[in-house]
């Protein structure tokens, strides 16, 4: 029996890595914990790429199964979630390729356009503009807005800004360089901002503001 004593003190093991070790030792309940922890995030990534609910459900199932089968290939020095996202992205792209035969789909497709890199609409927004819409309306606006972006932008924004991954982890998960992640993130943010301005900017006329009135509490924000 060996005890490893580190001079630096205790080595911190990420809880996910500990769970992976348990799964490798035959404890399937530990995998259940990992699935529960990440299924919602994985579903969202799949939905962002495939833009199809059924596909996203299938991708989510396939990704978790594939990760389970490939668990021996997971290296403890990389993060489990980053590794899982990479599998999910590949599964999502495969699903898209199946659907759109002949059309190449890649997360790294050429996006070197200057479109959206410079803000044009610089009208200020109403204070708390989301309150002018019901929850359902707001959800529709946000979904419609993000759908207008290229898949590579959507996923970078989701991972970095919504899920809070670091630039390095996002780059690793997507197989992109760090500058590529940074450039996509800036454009994603600016394009979303620009598109949301259509809904959220301060209204100039009372009649216009009145048309957009909220159904809740009759709160209308006026310029």
């Amino acid at each position: 029996m060996t005890t490893i004593q580190s001079l630096e003190g205790e080595i911190e093991i990420h809880p996910d890595v500990a769970l992976v070790e348990q799964v490798r030792a035959g404890d399937i309940a530990a995998y259940d914990t990992l699935v529960r922890k990440y299924e919602r995030q994985i579903f969202r990534i799949a939905q962002h790429i495939t833009q199809n609910r059924e596909d996203a459900e299938d991708v989510m199932q396939d990704a978790f199964l594939k990760a389970y089968e490939k668990l021996d290939q997971f290296q403890g020095n990389s993060k489990f979630y980053t590794w899982l996202v990479r599998i999910t992205v590949n599964e999502s792209l495969m699903r898209l390729r199946k659907r759109r035969t002949g059309k190449l789909v890649s997360i790294d497709e050429d996006l070197e356009t200057e479109e959206g890199a410079v803000p044009r609409d610089i009208a200020d927004w109403a204070p708390d503009p989301e309150q002018n819409y019901t929850q359902t309306e707001l959800g529709q606006i946000l979904e419609k807005t993000i759908k207008g972006l290229p898949p590579g932008f959507r996923v970078v924004f989701e991972l970095r800004d919504v899920q809070g991954l670091s630039t390095e982890d996002t780059a690793e998960a997507l197989g992109l360089s760090i500058p590529a992640v940074k450039s996509r993130l800036l454009r994603a943010r600016l394009q979303l901002r620009e598109r949301l301005s259509r809904y959220f900017k301060q209204k100039k006329s009372a009649s216009e503001a009145g048309r957009k009135k909220s159904s809740k509490a009759g709160k209308v924000t006026e310029a």
Binding site: I28, L65, L142, E143, V162
Partner: protein
């Protein structure tokens, strides 16, 4: 500082990745430039709105069904395509 220079540092500023001296310069630009101030504030708001309104939420019944299906397939082992 020009607006283009500000824009190049917009993400770092939003993410809090700027050294104190640069931050001061960026803040000074913001005070003097209403356009950049609007872009900065509304970009932050954009992120905050997306963060607090989760898209593609799975209803818990569907989530449970998918979860059960995943675990059943995992338990069966490598019988997949």
């Amino acid at each position: 500082m020009t607006c283009t220079e500000f824009l190049a540092k917009l993400d770092d500023m939003i993410d809090g990745n700027v050294a104190a001296k640069l931050r001061e310069e960026l803040e000074q630009h913001l005070k003097a430039c209403s356009h950049c101030e609007v872009v900065y504030n509304t970009t932050r708001k954009t992120i905050q709105i997306y963060r607090s309104n989760e898209l593609y939420e799975l209803p818990s019944s569907l989530r449970d069904r998918l979860h059960t299906a995943i675990m059943a397939r995992c338990k069966k082992g490598c019988g997949c395509s």
